[in-house]
């Protein structure tokens, strides 16, 4: 951006006014032939890159169990105190699992700390940015809404392995 000039500093061409208008029109004309970047949401949807931090989700393994071991680190690190975890015991080899895992999406600030701190790569930021709820209760996402199949999260998991 050029620095804005004060009126008394304008040179003669600028004072004439018309050349400046022509300049502006030229810019408009140039942009008319550039590719269109506006998306017709919701008919056309934005597919974010893998670095995008959408709503946090839990990774569900192929056998249907959650990767999460309910260690509670995400809940501890969360600066907005959005996450609540209640652990319990299972018969599986990883003896601990989250009986309850709730993220209050009204509190969540999408900082991604939970993903960064997770020792199991069990909570990751997804590409999901469409978050609508009608009341406070609906904004608390339980395991039913949080669990996402590992196949659908390949992009992000690969990104994490590369850059985390």
């Amino acid at each position: 951006m050029p620095v804005q000039k004060r009126k008394e500093d304008l040179n003669i061409l600028e004072k004439l006014y018309i050349p400046e208008i022509v300049k502006g029109m030229a810019l408009t004309l140039k942009n008319m032939f550039r590719p269109n970047v506006t998306m017709q949401y919701p008919e056309v949807r934005f597919e974010p890159p893998s670095s995008y931090r959408g709503r946090p989700v839990l990774v569900q393994e192929k056998n249907g169990t959650e990767r999460c071991v309910a260690c509670g680190l995400c809940s501890r690190v969360c600066p907005a105190l959005a996450i609540e975890v209640q652990a319990s015991e299972t018969e599986l080899e990883k003896e601990r699992y989250p009986q309850k895992f709730e993220i209050n999406m009204l509190r969540c600030i999408f900082c991604g700390f939970c993903e960064e701190v997770c020792p199991e790569e069990a909570i990751v930021m997804s590409k999901d940015y469409e978050l609508v709820f009608k009341n406070r209760k609906d904004a608390i996402f339980g395991k039913d809404k949080l669990l996402v199949q590992v196949d659908n999260l390949k992009d992000r998991l690969e990104f994490l392995r590369k850059f985390k």
């Binding site: 260690c71 680190l73 501890r76 105190l81 609540e84 652990a87 990883k94 003896e95 601990r96 406070r136």
Partner: protein
Amino acid sequence: MPMLTVDGKQIEFKQGQTVIEAARAAGIDIPHFCWHPSLSVSGNCRVCLVEIEKMPKLAISCSTYAMDGMVVYTKSEKTLQARSAVMEFILINHPLDCPICDEAGECKLQEYAYAHGSGESHFEEIKVRKEKRVQLGPNIKFDGDRCIMCSRCIRFSDEIAKQNQLTFIKRGDKVTITTFPGESFDNPYTLNTTDICPVGALTNQDFRFKSRVWEMSKTNSVCVGCSRGCNTEVWVRNNQILRLTPRQNNDVNSYWMCDNGRLNTFKNVNAENRINGTFIRKEGELEKVSWEEALKVAAKSLKDYKSGEIAFIGSAFTTCEDNFALVKFAKSLGVVNIDFVNHTVQGDQDDILIREDKTPNTLGAELSGVRSGSNGLSVEGMMKAIKEGKIKALYVMEDDVASLNEEYEKILSKLELLIVHSANENKTTTLADIVFPASTYAEKNGTFVNFQGRVQRIRPAVATEEMDRALDGMKMSRWDKFGTKFDRWMQGLKYDSKPSWKIFTMLSTYLGGKTKYEMAEDVFIDLTHSVDSFKGLDYDTIGEQGVLLKIKQTVTV
């Protein structure tokens, strides 16, 4: 006094102290796993290695006696190197499962790995796997992988619990802990091993996976399981007690508490049968009414009886404050029949901690004046008088008198008026005409006097409806500090109950009394003015460790 030098600091010590003890007494902490102040020295973890001048090699400070003129370095280059190497050695076969392990957050190994570990290991071999989830005893699960073989639990069961039940088996890196064949790790003190276990190998079955330690608040309190009065910490999350742990007090319980006290003294606080609000019997059924109405009805019906027709039963389960308020209230009505019930289990006593007397405050109740002696009737006398129709109204505070025996239950049903303070529903409350909800020991301030005559403080750890954690100065976890009423983790149940002294104070105003107690300490100060043994005490002087009372009269317990 002989002196030694630790890190350039001159320290006095007593002859016979080891280097680690002398340093600890002077406030210098030397890292240690297997050493414990009240257990014998085993010297197998090697983490307490220190450099001592004129000694050719590093020495373990836990088994090296301090000597006059000794010069010890706990932070020298050589010491740090050795410590880091020992940490690496201990971590060879220790699994990296802190996210799953319950000990995380209060784990000695975790802390020392941060403080003294090198952060990486030379060992690339596969870790030795051992048995997991072994049920060692009724309350304890053992995880062989996590064990670092410090032998603290073995020495504890040998030396403190005096029951040889645990031992090492196998050799080398396959060493593991087990019970002797056919034995179960079931002595009354087993859960102390979960406290002294420096890793997460021994876990409390009752608390396993319930909560992370950093999510809870902890409040200093006293166990109500027996008249020992072990000092405890009450761990609370979302207004629910999740566990009790012992707190060090060398004059009472050292570092320990019994399993019964740890597991069975807090469950009633969040039990289904808590009495929530005031109840009055209307047409044969107990009905919930407002405090105002209940107090009005209670005051009115007490007025209907002559002072000789009323009797009061106090309680050794509740605090000195509650008992003193009861005595004061009874005396304001002119009642002399005041007594309380002893709950003694003959023979259930050992020379470690457990006492026959299963109430925390027998001495306190007696000193507060709840036993009227020759002037009034004893509990047995009351029952006889009720049977004969001489006593028509009975006021029972926090004791389940009807459950003592079937005859009492029958006798109590003959009463014209039975007013009860209770925290939980029981046989007495089902017979009562008026029920006031009493706060449990975890919900109020107060004092207990244990069997030694030591007065000790309890503090509220769980909030009732009238309390607010922040405003009432209760201990708060991070969740408590930042939660709002819209957060589910803040919506733990709060009961509508009050401490008994408060109920008496409220009731006395309906009877034109002048006792004005604002808080528990007011009652206690009044008690110190009335009873010589308590003279000059207040909550601050009692502090965290309690004060031994000067009791003149010999009390029979």
